[in-house]
Symmetry: C2
Subunit: 356 residues, 2 copies
């Protein structure tokens, strides 16, 4: 059950820690920081217009030139230009809680009428009364109950519809915009830029694969078959003559830490030549990517922009929020191994696309 | 342990049944039937030149026109043109034994010097002395031992090299050609034809995914990320400073029968619109494919050509070889549900590409 601890720990921590953050934000009605004040260079011929000139942008363009220039010693065939991206905290915010946890809490509230017993049973009772410290007190076991109660027991088709509907209206508490509008603009440009140069872009996330797939094409241009994530077991069964895949309350795979190289190998069967993350959970993915021969690009998004997004990470004395932890050890290893740090504050002209 | 039985049963049966077939063929030195005698229409503008005109070819071309003609009521966007193919018996022969079993037996012989105890321990002893009935007597437990002893305990990189090397020299006992030269020419044309019309082609096989991947691109034009198969658990570890994925002697996933829709959903996240198989193990994949809305194409290769390849299948009074079984129930269901039967004898002008 080592894996269970691995995956539950961050979820658990974020629940307990988000008590303060979430209630505080909701109470004060903090709105979107004015990121539109920046004047992005939108010249069509300029790659990565939302990136400031600097070591991060330079590392990207130099690497792409290196592996795509025919005749270059480090030339890589298009079929092998695999780039993997963590999702939460790398492509969109992971604060004040993972988007999937916000979904789980909303689903408990939506499903409560069908479960009268939840009113008096923890951890559901605490979720329904908004008592986040009560949720926290239920421990890992409680969180697992919340996840399984909201993510399993239905067909994959039903779950997909529920997730799709949720993303149509669910808004981020700080930015007051749909979660699907909060992909980082510089990362969207990076995804496009890599694809333009023949890369295949994958998401490799600790999040649930069937939670992400309903939005990845629209938000990131990444189709379902290029989304690798955690999963529950599914069971094929024919109900009223109709075949269905039922989502069972059993963990199938945890795509975090050591699980990321395992998932990459299982789904892609090739080693990436570029990998992007933002936390200790991405360490092994970057290590695995970097251990291949030839040119490699490993990058970590560092959240140091409290005004436009969030600032956390003990590596630079920022708060250790426990969710999406960027530890001192990771920062040291990055320096040692030549993994590039993307500093939101310095490297990104803007964080999100224009407000709509 | 239901899954274990499911996967082991066919392997096991083929081992026991192939005793007669294999020893007979090796003894008599049966060689390749002269499939080159056929005169394929190789006109560049004619699709599927190795297919005879008939209901199978017509079903394919009509379906492709239906889903790819803009404005057609059944038009399908290229991103959703997913076609899945079983491998053994559908894209290449599964007789006299699955290619992967031939590999396992060869590996036992190759590894024997490092395992002196095998000389006196079943089922290894029987493999080493060529006593296939002794192998059979070791039962499912014995077969699992053979598979785990030859497929696990090394890194994924080492296993890939071993498989790649094996495919360079291993020959099919009946046709006396490399296994990699025995893809069915009509199916290769079908794969190309579908891709030409914007389909993405996947292999969905009960065989081991890491056994297939080293050859699927060269043989079928199918890259590793489009190969779904059975797998063992892998574990990420750093050995002498080098990260590796170690193949563990534990089954991770069995991609057969009900496992095929499960694997398709897990890896692709979309339902295929076309599926091709040849045995009872493909039944659920075809059922799952057919249960989607819009135009669908489900086809089963029926082996009725003893002269050019093999003839088996109780559906038409042919031998029930247990490996790649095409049962009467499957034939009945195919007729009932409009799944097309591809008859090797009638539908294919030739079986293999030209001899080299």
């Amino acid at each position: 059950m080592k894996h269970k601890r691995t995956v539950l720990a961050p979820w658990w921590d974020l629940i307990s820690l988000s008590v303060v953050a979430l209630t505080g934000l909701l109470a004060t009605g903090v709105l979107l920081a004015d990121d539109a004040a920046a004047t992005p260079d939108m010249g069509l011929d300029t790659p990565l217009p939302s990136w400031n000139e600097g070591p991060a942008k330079q590392a990207i363009t130099a690497f792409v030139e290196q592996v795509t220039t025919p005749g270059s010693a480090d030339f890589v065939l298009p079929a092998d230009r695999i780039a993997t991206f963590d999702n939460d905290g790398t492509l969109w915010p992971s604060h004040p809680m993972y988007t999937q946890v916000a979904f789980a809490l909303d689903r408990v509230k939506a499903l409560a009428p069908q479960h009268p017993g939840w009113k008096t049973t923890e951890p559901f009772k605490s979720v329904l009364t908004g008592d986040m410290s009560g949720v926290a007190a239920s421990g890992e076991k409680g969180l697992l109950e919340l996840v399984m109660a909201t993510h399993t027991g239905m067909s994959t088709a039903e779950f997909e519809k529920t997730v799709t509907d949720w993303f149509k209206t669910a808004k981020h508490p700080k930015f007051n915009r749909l979660y699907t509008e909060l992909a980082y603009q510089p990362m969207l440009e990076l995804l496009d830029y890599l694809r333009e140069y023949g890369f295949t872009t994958y998401i490799v996330s600790g999040g649930g694969v069937e939670f992400m797939r309903p939005m990845t094409m629209a938000v990131y241009g990444i189709p379902s078959q290029q989304v690798i994530g955690s999963s529950v077991k599914t069971q094929y069964q024919v109900v009223n003559g109709k075949p269905e895949l039922m989502r069972k309350p059993t963990i199938n795979f945890i795509d975090d830490k050591q699980g990321k190289p395992v998932g990459i190998n299982q789904f892609i069967g090739k080693r990436p030549i570029a990998a992007f993350g933002n936390s200790d959970g991405d360490r092994e993915m970057l290590e695995w990517t970097g251990a291949g021969s030839g040119a490699r690009l490993m990058m970590l998004v560092f959240h140091d922009d409290a005004q436009r997004e969030y600032a956390y990470g003990p590596a630079e004395g920022l708060p250790d929020t426990k969710f999406g932890t960027f530890s001192q050890a990771l920062m040291d290893e990055a320096k040692d191994k030549g993994w590039f740090i993307i500093r939101m504050k310095d490297d990104w002209k803007r964080i999100f696309a224009q407000s709509q």
